[in-house]
């Protein structure tokens, strides 16, 4: 479904990504792990289209996406749940979720989509008229995930969902992602710092290190590979 070939991104001379190639097949769950500064978020943004100046090729469902701006990629069915959640804090929970289904293909299914999301996150049903900015970190995470699901996406991009959350909430988040994966037929690309949790959930993984793909493999192979540690700590 998603094919990245030879992606390189530099910001004014800074090489964030160099010649990265990876693939996500339909229905697969792929994880990208690696330390900070490895370029994981840059990679996500290159896929969803919010950075310019990327060279290389990006194909979605066989179609070249490289020249499309972010909002058009989202309209195609790619839902990006960004790093730090980035929910609309001055809008209510309900409005946030409704905006998730802004793209035409999802608008028709708004009502049923909403029911499904509220069933997944019952807490949000109570809080639906509350301003999203007033919610706790974990609840905001639910809004962000819910907003992504409301787009009825074909490809779900999750950028460091555990960031800035307490341990219990992180556990719940990963459980939720697992549940989402099992209940809907979604293709998921997850970027995470927490190695084990991320690798356990996925089918296949890639390890990024200073802008390049250092390792790749099936999730259990990577989990057992001590070289992953070197990517993080240098020794």
């Amino acid at each position: 479904m998603l094919k990245i070939s030879g992606l390189s991104v530099s910001y004014g001379g800074l090489h964030a990504l160099e010649d990265v190639s990876l693939e996500v097949a339909e229905g697969e769950f792929v994880t990208i792990v690696g330390p900070n500064g490895a370029g994981k978020t840059t990679l996500m943004k290159a896929v969803s289209g919010s950075i310019r100046g990327a060279t290389g090729r990006l194909e979605f469902r066989g179609r070249d996406m490289t020249s499309l701006p972010a909002h058009q990629r989202a309209a195609l069915g790619i839902a990006h749940v960004p790093e730090g959640r980035r929910i609309f804090s001055s809008l209510t929970v309900l409005e946030n979720l409704e905006l998730g289904s802004y793209r035409r293909a999802a608008r028709a299914k708004r009502a049923e989509g909403l029911e499904a999301v509220l069933a997944l996150f019952p807490v949000l049903r109570e809080r639906r008229q509350q301003l999203a900015g007033s919610l706790s970190g974990g609840e905001q995470q639910m809004v962000a995930l819910g907003r992504g699901l409301m787009a009825q996406p074909d490809l779900l991009l999750l950028d460091e969902p555990s960031q800035g959350l307490g341990p219990r909430v992180v556990e719940q988040t990963f459980e939720t992602i697992d549940r989402i994966r099992k209940s809907r037929r979604l293709t998921i690309l997850l970027v995470e710092q927490r190695v084990v949790e991320a690798l356990e959930l996925c089918d296949r993984g890639y390890v990024l290190e200073t802008g390049r793909v250092a390792l790749e493999g099936a999730h259990d192979a990577l989990l057992a590979d001590p070289r992953v540690q070197r990517a993080y700590l240098g020794v």
């Binding site: 972010a70 909002h71 960004p82 609309f88 809008l91 409005e95 409704e98 905006l99 802004y102 907003r147």
Partner: protein, 297 residues
């Protein structure tokens, strides 16, 4: 000072403030979504006054209705102006420079609009004659000028319509999302650039309508903008740059300030009260009543 006299000042201030509020909402919407301070806001208002005058004198449409009818053409004008001019100004990629450059661009627009209007139409002030401009309602001991009262209620109606638009329609919510977090908005398939155009169009349309309402009791001439642009700025800053309910409250407040200043200062110095209030807000609480925390150095 008799209580009823004070109340008269307060009521007059509020009536005038209603129209200020409508003008300011347009400015706040543009700033909220685009982060641009539109110096030309007063000039578009002036054009709205002239269009309403045309409707009244040539087509015989009552200005209160005429004000509403300025909305569609000015929305289109706003979209075009954004597309042709504002969207082209990027200041070289740096967002701060972009804001400065767009601000100067709107200043240039303001100059062209005011001066071109002076060139094409004569600078002689015109007025729309209506039956209600000179009459007043008597409510107890208070006298409410009819034109101002009608204008006030129309302004409230339009403000309410804007509220419904922003909170009940998909497009309105998308505008608010683009104002809140443009990057995240683009992830929801919202075309943020197009939202800028819509915000500008709506902002211009609202201020043109406010001009139409103003024209029921205020003389129409090309230089009218300069009297109101600062009032609008003050209202928006008082309410909190980018906050629409804030701009509404700010507009009402400025109307009050202007009116109550007359209790202490002569008519000539009326606006000094407004400007001093402006400085006080900037120094003491730059984020205004409803705005987010502003950076101080």
């Amino acid at each position: 000072m008799v209580a009823s006299e004070l109340t008269q000042y307060v009521v007059t201030g509020l009536l005038v403030g209603g129209v200020y509020a409508l003008m300011s909402i347009g400015l706040a919407l543009i700033f909220g979504v685009m982060r641009v301070v539109n110096f030309a806001q007063g000039d578009f208002m002036m054009l709205g006054m002239y269009l309403t005058y045309y409707y009244a004198v040539v087509l015989g449409i009552d200005p209160l209705v005429g004000a509403l009818v300025t909305i569609p053409p000015f929305f289109v004008i706003g979209l075009l102006v954004h597309r042709v001019f504002l969207a082209r100004v990027t200041g070289g990629g740096d967002p701060n420079r972009e804001m400065d450059a767009q601000l100067i661009l709107t200043l240039g627009m303001s100059l062209i609009i005011t001066n071109a209007t002076t060139m094409i139409l004569s600078p002689m002030p015109r007025a729309i004659r209506t039956t209600y401009a000179t009459r007043a309602f008597a409510v107890g001991p208070l006298l409410l000028n009819q034109a101002r009262t009608y204008a006030f209620f129309m302004a409230l109606l339009l403000a309410a319509a804007v509220y419904v638009f922003l909170t009940r329609t998909d497009l309105g919510k998308a505008l608010r999302a683009a104002a809140d977090d443009p990057e995240a908005a683009s992830y929801q398939a919202i075309n943020v650039r197009a939202m800028h155009g819509v915000a500008f169009g709506v902002g211009i349309a609202l201020v043109a309508a406010a001009g139409g309402l103003l024209a029921t009791y205020y003389p129409i001439e090309p230089n009218v903008a300069v009297n109101f642009i600062v009032l609008m700025f003050v209202a928006v800053v008082l309410g909190g740059l980018g906050s629409i309910p804030g701009a509404f409250v700010g507009g009402l407040a400025i109307g009050l300030v202007q009116s109550l200043t007359l209790l202490v200062l002569p008519l000539q110095l009326q606006n000094v009260g407004v400007f001093v209030a402006f400085l006080l807000v900037l120094y003491v609480r730059p984020q205004g009543l409803f705005g987010r925390r502003a950076r101080t150095v």
